[in-house]
């Protein structure tokens, strides 16, 4: 017997994905639908009879009158119109038993398709706690389709559903609503006949929302949550990242001393091992950030945070949902850009992705520290403030202002000026389920390692090639990098970068600095032929550049780093998340243009004033 193909459909927040996780466990495959960035989740399980069941978790939809790319996929698959997807044998429509007024309308819409279907009344535990009584048999009879109760967060909570799918063949609905029938009126009728609801809302939701959405306490609470997330992504991840870096450099050192010296040795150590390390080092931040996001999303707090922030973000051309991705971008733009998946409007999501690289990520700190330490006097201002600290703060502020400004300009430039809907449901509060959070985390990690990791690794090896070929002649006097392709590119760039005050050493360092912003420090050390550990090199480098560069050049380089997309991983993740090289080109182009402009103004003004 061939596998039974089931599609899970339902409105957002009906617990459909939790049900999918309960049924398939870790046997899931996550990919994208061809040509779009909508996630396609498929899994398999065996029913007690031994029959294999293939389950497709379709994106949540409020209506088959699709209003977003997600909903179009759901509609097309249900209609058998989606290229590359076979028409499912049975549609399982999931509805939240506590939210039937909204979800039953969608059930009626799906029933109109006339396909074999089952209604899963999910969250029956929550419904019972709230004293909601549902006449399941009556509902099944009136709908003309099988209706089963499920509790997606409980082991064995889907037994009745599996038995239904495994047992009697599920036929087409006995009745369907006519095309012009008023589905809302039908829902009201069904509810009146089969559902007893003591109260329209959960008391606990009302009580929690009085605090969570309060203009003062709500914002305070949000600030606390944000501070905690920021702290966690910024500092809890640091020891893990250091550990990963130490481990990879130890492996690299071992390989480089064990293997005979030569090209292969260098490719392995400086190309592949360093490249792999450069990918895996992001994992701690990604996992910690997504742990918070998943818990907040599952508990229902995330839409509340968006509610509180929407007005201020909207003014800048963003949405309330942009806030958490942008905040996490302060630690690192990679997890930040991955977190934009919670933004429904594709235009808002793209804007958020494109401005995320402007936030002052932690990789900029080594560069800022080096330059500020070398050029800005450690002077006290007004007795309490330190001039170096003020410059650093100004650089952060510069980042925030440019996020807002660029988002605002993008809003002006957008051709599609139609209104962006907020129309956001604030679901009931729920306790996050450990299994769902764990599966979500595992998925994020895999997506990053497989799809983004590949691009980063390839580019790192390419960069290694540019840095090592051709080799320096035996009688070379300068550093080897000076003779390589990277060196030539640097020299070639020099006239172009002269108006912003960059010398040839900086130009060369910018080439390997494409790998990641902090690499610029070690590359400068290489160009100035300084050897020794990172700390020593940075200190010596500080002394050298303080004597050889002008203040205008240093300020210009600081301004450059506020904007320049000197991070291949960010570009790789933009490609992965938007599925378009065009967006990568737009991001790279506008960021380099802004960097050049900012550096040019900074350099010329600083030189004129000096």
């Amino acid at each position: 017997m061939s596998a039974l193909r089931i599609a899970l459909v339902g409105s957002p927040n009906c617990g459909k994905t939790a049900l999918f996780n309960l049924l398939t466990g870790s046997r899931q495959k996550v990919a994208n639908y061809a040509g779009v960035t909508v996630e396609r989740k498929e899994g398999r399980f065996s029913a007690p009879s031994g029959r294999s069941i293939q389950l497709l978790d379709l994106p949540g939809a409020y209506s088959l009158e699709a209003a977003s790319p997600d909903e179009m996929i759901t509609r097309d698959v249900c209609l058998g119109r989606h290229p590359g997807e076979t028409l499912p044998d049975v549609i399982v429509c999931v509805a939240d038993a506590t939210n039937l007024r909204l979800h039953l309308r969608f059930v009626l819409e799906v029933r109109r398709l006339g396909r074999p279907m089952v209604l899963a009344l999910n969250m029956m535990d929550a419904a019972r706690r709230r004293g909601i009584v549902i006449d399941v048999a009556g509902l099944a009879q009136r709908l003309g389709i099988p209706v089963v109760e499920t509790i997606a967060v409980k082991r064995g909570g889907a037994t009745a559903l599996v038995a239904q799918l495994d047992g009697a063949a599920t036929g087409k609905p006995a009745t369907v609503s006519s095309v012009d029938a008023d589905l809302h009126a039908e829902v009201r009728e069904l509810l009146a006949e089969t559902v007893m609801m003591p109260r329209r809302t959960a008391e606990i939701d009302d009580a929690l929302d009085r605090w969570a959405l309060h203009p003062v306490f709500g914002l305070l609470m949000l600030a606390t949550v944000m501070f905690l997330i920021f702290q966690a992504v910024f500092s809890w991840a640091a020891p893990l990242q250091d550990g990963i870096e130490i481990a990879f450099s130890a492996v690299g050192a071992w390989v480089s001393t064990t293997m005979p010296a030569g090209l292969l040795n260098s490719l392995l150590v400086d190309g592949i091992i360093a490249g792999l390390g450069g990918v895996i080092v992001f994992l701690p931040q990604i996992l910690i950030l997504f742990l918070f996001i998943l818990v907040l999303e599952e508990s229902g707090y995330l839409p509340r945070a968006s509610f509180l922030l929407d007005r201020s973000m909207f003014a800048a051309g963003l949405t309330g949902r942009s806030f958490i991705p942008l905040l996490s971008s302060y630690a690192c733009a990679i997890p930040g850009i991955m977190a934009t998946r919670s933004i429904q409007d594709p235009r808002d999501r793209l804007t958020t992705i494109l401005v995320a690289p402007l936030t002052t990520c932690s990789a900029r700190l080594p560069v800022y520290t080096l330059l500020i330490g070398a050029f800005i006097p450690r002077q006290e201002i007004a007795g309490v403030f330190n001039l170096q600290g003020i410059v650093l703060f100004a650089l952060y502020l510069f980042g925030i202002v440019s996020v807002m400004a660029v988002a605002w300009v993008m809003k002006l430039l957008r051709r599609d000026k139609s209104e962006h809907a907020l129309l956001m449901e604030l679901p009931s509060y729920r306790l996050p389920n450990v299994r769902d959070v764990a599966i979500g985390l595992y998925e994020r990690a895999m997506i990053f390692l497989r799809r983004v990791g590949g691009i980063i690794l390839t580019l790192t090896v390419l960069l290694w090639f540019l840095l090592n070929f051709p080799a320096a002649p035996l009688d070379a006097v300068g550093p080897a990098i000076d003779y390589s392709f990277a060196g030539r590119i640097g020299h070639f760039m020099e006239p172009l970068f002269a108006p912003i005050g960059f010398n040839w050493q900086i130009c060369i360092a910018l080439v390997p600095g494409m790998a990641a912003r902090e690499v610029a420090v070690s590359s400068l050390a290489t160009v100035y032929a300084i050897s020794g550990g990172d700390e020593v090199a940075a200190q010596q480098l500080g002394t050298i550049i303080a004597t050889q560069w002008s203040l205008a050049t240093a300020l210009s380089l600081l301004a450059w780093y506020v904007f320049a997309p000197q991070c291949l991983s960010t570009l790789a993740v933009i490609k992965r998340e938007t599925n378009s090289w065009r967006n990568v080109a737009i991001a790279t182009g506008y960021l380099f243009a802004l960097a050049y402009l900012a550096s040019f103004i900074t350099f010329q003004v600083a030189r004129a004033l000096a």
Partner: protein
């Protein structure tokens, strides 16, 4: 009156949803979500800045709406 003019906590009933533009997808979506004639509706909370967005209870569900979205919904005070 419009839903955007409704005071917080006052019980009202939806009369209709008006299209702000031809083939207004937002208006259609509001109707799909349950903003239909005769449905009880209430504003339960307001955003902290500019009293936006509005948190609206309709059916058993709460939706956050921006003012421009809520302005499409005509309501009358519950008797």
């Amino acid at each position: 009156m419009r839903l955007s003019e409704l005071q917080k906590g006052i019980a009202a009933v939806v009369s209709t949803v008006e299209d702000a533009t031809p083939q207004d997808v937002i208006a259609q979506r509001l109707r799909d979500l349950g903003f239909v004639g005769g449905e009880p509706v209430r504003v339960v909370a307001l955003g902290p800045i500019g009293a936006e967005p509005l948190l609206v209870q309709v059916g058993y569900t709460r939706f956050a709406l921006r003012r421009s979205e809520a302005a499409r919904v005509r309501v009358s005070l519950a008797a």
